[in-house]
Amino acid sequence: MPLPNELKVDEWQHLKMQVGAEILKNLSKGIYSNPGNTIKELINNSYDADATEVVIRARPEFDTITITDNGEGMNETEFKEDFVVISRSRKRDAGLYTQRLKRPVIGKIGIGFISALQICDEVTFISKKREENLKLEAKVDFGKFKGEMAKKAKFQDISDVHFRNVPEETETHYTMVIMSKLGEDFKDILSDKDLRGIDIIDFQGVTFEEIADQIEKRIGRGELEDFTKAKGKRAIGQYWNMMLQIANTVPVPYLDNGPIKESGKFDVIEELKKEISALKFDVDFDGIHLRKPVRFPNVPEISEEGRDYDVYTFKEKYDFKDGSNLRFKGYIYNQRKSILPTQFRGIIIRIKNVAIGSFFPDFLDYPYSEKLWLPWTNGEIYVEEGLEEAMNIDRNTFNLAHPHYRKLKNYLHNLLHTKVFIRVRNRYTSRMEERKEFEQVEKSRLRKELLASKFGYAFEIKYNDDFYPKRPVDINTDTKTLIIYRFHPIFDKYKQKKQFLEDVLILFEIAYSLSGGEGKKLREIFLDEIKRW
């Protein structure tokens, strides 16, 4: 490998970038399945480069997307090592932590950069490494090779690369990725051209905190359920949806009162918040400084912990026979109704602070029968050690048979089954009983009002437990009493609609009393009461 002083300066050179066919195939299932993942991967590259600031510009034209960071930068030698043949990455050669800020390294095979080929034909890469006096400029042309992707060669050419070293005397260090010739489909998606007759909710010109507030208000008013689907004639645009998804997955801080509004009560959550803030990783996305958008509870009717929602925190460590360890911590949030927006339902797994995929709504294939309560649940697991080997190359899914993954999954399922959902069931039952009691009192009040309005004086309502009563309901105008015989066989037949039947029979008895037993009059009064009831 040539030393920096042997590098050619100010002279354009050429190479072809190759990628292992199997990698390309696997990538197409994960990173390539969502264009926003490309930006996420590039942000993760910046994080791995010890950047503290990332600036992304896409709006308003979506003509180019530029990503600049103040990370350690890359020189020609490193660029070639990482990108000439993409099948491995040197990122982890230096150890599991970055050199300067000692961040846990995320990257595995340098695929973040080539994921750009999904959304554009051309990438300009400019990087200046700390304390070196050359900057590297490379122009990567994917366009020419896109049609040839289907070839079955072991390694496929994916781009022409022209690069050169240019003297730069400044002490700066940075990397710029300029994606140009963006795919028309991608531009159309971001511009919401596919949505016809829908008013796009646009958050232009407001801060991330304000966006989060607006979303919360809309959810509270029943105007928003899902980031990607219209509610009525209004929907959040694809650009904003992409930004929110990215914000949720990269290592940016939480909103001040997120992820749980009263998180001060929970040590593990406070610890997580402090750790993420300490990363000092700022992402400026079109002037908006990203924060993790999750903040619960997010609707007015969910307010009281214990009654409306519960939070469970955990911190675990497991040793494996092969000497490896699995360390993780996190929380589960469960509320008494479905979580909105739907994108926030599920569990998100972050390895070294970076999300793998997004929320898994099925909680890693939860096997028990309480699936009804999964949409009421959200959670985050921060894996501090282990699990990385279980991550598939698409960086969005896991190898289901890996012992770390199985351990984590079983822990999660056990927590949900034996703790979270038991509590949900108890909460549900007690709420049902409370509701039943309330309904009973309310029913009684309404019945008394009805009787008073018909007979002109107040009635008492009594329940009789005789087993063989003559009638199911009786009105005694002398004693001013309404008696309901709870064990009359007629109620056995309509257990589910017992209250309904009681009401009908009370109306019948009122009609009978007021008609003096005259059949025609009884019928008129009864039908009239039923109509008004």
């Binding site: 510009r57 034209e61 180019t64 010109g205």
Partner: protein
């Protein structure tokens, strides 16, 4: 291989555009942009510029509330720019969130060399203030009869006319005969010669011949027989006024400035034009042509009446003023790399 990636030193780039002479010029731009703001009713100007990496003109306009901003940057309606070099384009974008931007030259933006306009230009125009601060060579296009820059100016008037919109136009170019190629110089020369023989501009001809007798008498072109920056200070306004006339604009050249920026060798020339649309709403004329021609003759004659401001001389004779702009430069250094 495309040569669109050019090397440049960031620190040099910053200093290149941060000198007291340039700040003097920027404050002239500010004066005219404020006048334009008074003429438009929306409370901000739609501004197009070719900013350097530190976007000093945008900083100045923002400071004086000429632009519409939001909590996250600019309102795209208020600010647009283009920059050809990818690295500069990215650096500028990092400072200016949500402004409209184009990674290419002004000439490609407006559609030089194609019939009609580009879709992007059609969408972006009109602007209230257009600042064409060509830091590189102007009027250069080897092998062509007309300069791309001149054609871009003509397209600018056509685009503004298509939206029936008056505007302020600032043009800055280096007065370096080596940089400005023969075709561009010939085009300006042609424009000058036409006026010198035009009955409608006799007053201009008289004043010009009095000042530059050698041009009329000698066989050599004017750009060889008179100081080159003076040649530009006369011919560029003439060309712009002519283009304006063709597209139903009354164009007045309000300022003509020349300067050599501190630490530089190249003399620059800057012009401030006020361009008022006098055509009908359908874009096909308005004032009687005789009246417009009269205004044209007046405005051409005014080119010589409008004094050339040599910023270096102004500073030499007003040291206090020089110190004021020195301190503005020093203040501007504190803004390097900060987002707007």
């Amino acid at each position: 291989m495309s040569s669109s990636i050019n090397s440049y030193s960031q620190s040099q780039d910053r200093e290149a555009f941060n000198n007291p002479e340039k700040w003097f010029v920027r404050y002239k731009w500010l004066k005219h942009a404020r006048r334009r703001l008074d003429k438009v009713s929306k409370g901000f100007v739609k501004f197009f510029t070719l900013p350097g990496v530190e976007c000093f003109d945008i900083r100045l306009f923002k400071l004086h509330s000429l632009l519409k901003t939001t909590a996250t940057g600019f309102d795209p309606e208020s600010l647009a720019y283009c920059e050809e070099i990818a690295e500069r384009y990215t650096r500028i974008g990092n400072l200016l969130a949500n402004a409209r931007r184009f990674n290419g030259s002004y000439e490609s933006l407006v559609g030089v060399g194609i019939s009609g306009f580009t879709a992007r230009a059609d969408q972006w125009f009109p602007f209230d203030v257009i600042n064409l601060d060509f830091s590189g060579p102007g009027f250069n296009q080897p092998g062509r009869n007309t300069s791309r820059t001149a054609e871009a100016l003509l397209k600018t008037f056509k685009l503004q006319k298509s939206k029936r919109s008056s505007f302020s136009l600032f043009i800055t170019i280096p007065a370096n005969p080596v940089w400005n190629d023969e075709s561009g110089k010939k085009q300006l020369e042609q424009c000058l010669r036409t006026n010198l023989t035009d009955n409608e501009t006799q007053e201009f001809t008289r004043a010009f011949n009095d000042k530059y007798p050698q041009v009329q008498q000698g066989p050599s072109p004017a750009y060889q027989t008179m100081p080159y920056h003076e040649f530009l200070l006369i011919t560029v306004p003439k060309l712009v006024i002519k283009y304006g006339l063709d597209e139903w604009f009354v164009v007045v050249c309000e300022e003509k400035l020349t300067y050599v920026g501190e630490g530089h060798n190249t003399r620059m020339v800057t012009f401030c034009f006020e361009c008022e649309y006098v055509g009908l709403p359908n874009g096909y004329g308005g004032q009687p042509q005789t009246l417009q021609l009269h205004q044209y003759s007046e405005n051409v004659a005014n080119i010589l009446r409008t004094p050339n401001t040599d910023v270096n001389q102004v500073f030499a004779s007003h040291l206090k003023l020089r110190r004021k702009y020195d301190s503005i430069r020093d203040e501007a250094r504190k803004c390097y790399g900060t987002k707007l």
